[in-house]
């Protein structure tokens, strides 16, 4: 098990005051004061790549600034372990996967190894996603409140994998889901807390037009045609091929370009294979740009999202889709599938457009390309919606409230 490097955050919690208001930050401080002296441990499977690592890299320093000793560690494992957890991930999303007894055995073996290696004291332990879920075995030794933070869509999980994980999950004090649709029959408390973005991160800060143009030029892109963009890992569940199909339908009537930008994560061995499939499918179409970006491309992604005319997220399954949150924060019109936690962000025709098929996506794209003012209105609403509900300050608040709620089993808690 490795711990996060002690890289100091350049951002101060006060920097959020102009964005969410001074009183909001005051309230966070009041809340954190009630938990001062406690240690909060976060454990997941990667420091880079994917939404969980991104959230933690911002959340941990801010919680520390609020006076809560917050730490972040990751479990380690061989490639085979991550292949198994990727299968778990897909199966929990409802995809049919062949998972053998050996796979379960490998999962438990790696967990045991991490358990013997690790030393992670904490009064509150947030365990993120299925990979480290079985660490709960340590609870009887170190005590504390254990919370399983599930970032993925488990509304229709594969029964075999879910039953396997459930025997560990029930030992937690609570679970946290990103959408009410993911709720399960469990004998423990279940909270609903959508994830969030950091408005001050490289991926979300405002860029100068010259910087944006320079970045576009780096990838051989221009602004001469409206740009449709999907930013996501090269993963079948993000349906990159469906995005290309929708684009081809729209392209018949509108001059536009499509950019599929994404990367790979160390805990997702399948992504390289998907990237090759997408490249093959896009071959021969000069208006489709496939950009494979390394994990440290935050500013480049920011530039692409800012330059985009419309942002898509045509996922087949989705935990929450922080890329949508980023797009809304940049006041962009979004076309997204009505799956997982996406409807929490996109209220159809109000903060964006929802679709259920390739044709539906193409129809929504045509609407926005023909009516730019409508797109601006949706984008403006979307930005305010994100300000109120999906910024990191709200997630910090939820984490603190959860801990307080576990200490007192009441509907109204007076502090």
């Amino acid at each position: 098990m490795r711990r996060a490097s002690a890289k100091a955050s350049k951002v101060n919690i006060r920097d959020y005051e102009p964005i969410v208001g001074r009183s909001y930050i005051e309230e966070l401080r009041m809340l954190a004061d009630k938990l001062s002296g406690k240690t909060m441990q976060n454990i997941n499977s990667t420091f880079v790549g994917g939404g969980v690592a991104e959230i933690l890299s911002h959340l941990v320093p801010l919680l520390n600034q609020l006076g809560i000793d917050t730490r972040w560690r990751i479990i380690t494992g061989e490639t085979q372990f991550f292949e198994v957890t990727k299968k778990f991930h897909n199966a929990l999303h409802g995809k049919i996967e062949h998972i053998s007894d050996n796979d379960f055995a490998l999962f438990l073996e790696t967990t045991e190894k991490n358990l013997s290696d690790l030393d992670f004291p904490g009064d509150i332990l947030f365990i993120h996603d299925p990979q480290p879920a079985a660490l709960i075995s340590k609870k009887k030794d170190i005590g504390g409140k254990w919370i399983w933070r599930c970032h993925i869509d488990i509304s229709h999980p594969d029964s075999k994998v879910w039953q396997f994980l459930k025997q560990y999950i029930v030992n937690y004090d609570a679970v946290v889901f990103s959408s009410p649709n993911f709720v399960q029959e469990l004998p423990i408390r279940q909270f609903f807390a959508p994830p969030s973005i950091d408005p001050l991160s490289d991926k979300n800060k405002e860029l100068l037009p010259e910087s944006i143009d320079a970045i576009l030029a780096k990838y051989g892109l221009t602004r001469d045609k409206p740009m449709i963009l999907q930013v996501s890992r090269f993963d079948r569940l993000k349906d990159p091929l469906g995005v290309i199909q929708a684009f081809e339908l729209v392209k018949k009537n509108f001059a536009c370009q499509l950019v599929l930008a994404g990367g790979t994560a160390s805990d997702d061995p399948e992504s390289q294979e998907v990237l090759e499939e997408v490249r093959e499918r896009a071959r021969g179409n000069p208006d489709i740009h496939i950009l494979s970006m390394p994990p440290e491309s935050d500013i480049d992604i920011d530039a692409l999202q800012t330059a985009a005319t419309i942002i898509m997220q045509k996922s087949l399954r989705e935990g929450f889709a922080l890329t949508i949150t980023e797009a809304l924060w940049k006041a962009k019109p979004v076309v997204a599938s009505a799956v997982g936690g996406i409807p929490l962000q996109i209220r159809n025709k109000f903060t964006g457009l929802l679709c259920h098929s390739v044709e539906g996506a193409a129809y929504a794209l045509r609407q926005l390309l023909s009516n730019p003012d409508y797109g601006h209105w949706l984008g403006h609403n979307g930005r305010e919606h994100v300000r109120q509900h999906f910024l990191i300050t709200r997630e910090i608040k939820d984490y603190l409230l959860m801990v307080l709620a576990l200490e007192r089993n009441e509907d109204i808690i007076y502090l």
Binding site: Q190, V339, M402, D411
Partner: protein, 456 residues
């Protein structure tokens, strides 16, 4: 003699005519100037102006006579040495007369202002004496200069005397000056309720020539040197504000969403669940939309109305549910019964119930509230307004929405306090009558502030 007059009549007539000409023109100018001054002072009720007019009006006439004589002398045919001598005599009379009037004026002004500043008698006498001596010394110096006396030793003695006077009175003058500035600038006056930058607040009791006394709300007296007072920021609330019997302590409320695990995929299930879920669930689903979209045009819809429309396609039932006026209900129990009643009435006419599509079931969520005290406390209406401007919308929400329905206090916290602790019954009723479900939270904040400001 007659012959001499016949020959020189012009030499006499010209100075006489010049004297009377100058005198009458000056008299006419004096009349116009003083009339205008009197009108101006009447409008402003400036005491100092009245004193100045009463003291200078007659002497001004005498000064004009001297001026007429001086000009007549200068146009006469007298020898230059006689003209020079006559001029010096007239100038000396004028300087002495002017100095005497100046002494009278300064004495009246000093009495007027130092009495207002509540300066002690000895300070008034000392100031008057110093001013009189200064005027006399300056007058004598001018006269000596006029008659050609040596000035250097006299000037050195005068400067030395002034330096000594400044050193002796260095602590007294700034305070007097500032008390003058405070009272004459009408910035603050006795009876005003003021708050200083440093946080001290209270009613101004007295402004003396050295300090200002403030009576705080808890009965203590703060004495602030005027020199300090003029350098700090003061909020002057003007007329006395009504003090509360019990201050309003602002709280805030942060909430967490807990999934109950209960769900419904048709109307029968919805009704069945609605009967069994805790109040915290009903509260959540009748207020979540308002909180989620509080930044936009308010839409007092509840989650049940939205779900039956979007997931089940029952437009009429959705409209009936959306039109339930949450503001009418004193308790969540009563609100729950109305919602159940509306759905059951509709269900009576339904033969084949519709099922929600997969992933569109209604999930019952519970609102867990954490209530925290804030550092904000209001002791009067002005302070209440000031705090209302800076509290979070969570705090506003807690005292208006949660207090009435979830905590079942009958009305919002603000109205209870305004009536019970501040005696502002009418204002309390106005705030209580506001239907908060028809405002965005920011508009609601502004409306309450406006009502309070009107009362002030």
């Amino acid at each position: 003699m007659i012959e001499w007059l016949r020959v020189n009549w012009l030499s006499i007539a010209v100075p006489v005519l010049v004297f009377f000409g100058v005198f009458f023109i000056s008299l006419w100018l004096r009349r116009i100037v003083y009339s205008a001054l009197e009108r101006w002072l009447k409008e402003r009720r400036a005491e100092i102006g009245k004193i100045a007019i009463s003291i200078t009006k007659n002497p001004f006439l005498h000064w004009l006579l001297i001026l007429g004589l001086y000009i007549a002398l200068q146009v006469s045919v007298l020898a230059p040495q006689w003209k020079s001598l006559g001029g010096k005599i007239l100038a000396s009379i004028f300087i002495a007369y002017f100095g005497w009037i100046l002494i009278r004026l300064s004495r009246e002004f000093i009495y007027l202002y130092l009495n207002k500043a509540k300066a002690p008698d000895r300070a008034i006498i000392a100031t008057t004496s110093i001013t009189q001596v200064t005027i006399i010394v300056v007058g004598v110096l001018i006269l000596l200069e006029l008659w050609g006396a040596p000035m250097a030793p006299i000037l050195i003695a005068v400067v030395a005397a002034i330096v000594v006077a400044i050193l002796v009175l260095r602590d007294v003058f700034p305070g007097m000056l500032f008390s003058f500035q405070l009272t004459q600038g009408r910035q603050i006056k006795s009876g005003d309720f003021i708050r200083l930058e440093s946080g001290e607040e209270g009613y101004v009791e007295e402004i003396t020539w050295r300090n200002t006394q403030i009576k705080t709300l808890d009965g203590n007296t703060i004495i602030i040197p005027n020199t300090k007072l003029v350098k700090t920021t003061i909020i002057n609330y003007g007329k006395p504000v009504k003090i509360t019997t019990e201050p309003f302590r602002f709280s805030t409320r942060l909430h967490l969403k807990e999934l109950t695990g209960l769900k419904a995929s048709n109307l029968s299930q919805l009704v069945s669940r609605l009967k069994e879920v805790p109040d915290a669930v009903i509260y959540y689903h009748t207020h979540s939309f308002l909180e989620e979209y509080q930044f936009l045009t308010p839409e007092p819809a509840n989650d049940f109305a939205l779900w039956v429309k979007e997931a089940l396609g029952y437009e009429i039932l959705a409209e009936r549910l959306a039109s339930i006026d949450t503001f009418e209900f004193p308790t969540i129990g009563a609100l729950r019964q109305r919602i159940i009643g509306v759905i059951q009435d509709f269900l009576a006419g339904v033969t084949n119930e519709r099922e929600a599509p997969q992933d569109n079931e209604f999930h019952f969520i519970k609102s867990i509230d954490v209530v925290l005290p804030t550092p904000y406390v209001a002791h009067d209406l002005q302070e209440f307004i000031d705090i209302l401007r800076k509290i979070s919308i969570n705090s506003l929400y807690f005292h208006i929405f949660e207090a009435k329905l979830r905590l079942q206090r009958g009305t919002n916290d603000f109205s209870i306090w305004l009536e019970d602790c501040l005696g502002e019954k009418e204002l309390a009723e106005q705030v209580a009558r506001l239907d908060p479900y028809n405002y965005t939270l920011e508009n609601l904040r502004e409306t309450v502030i406006q009502l309070c400001k009107e009362k002030l």
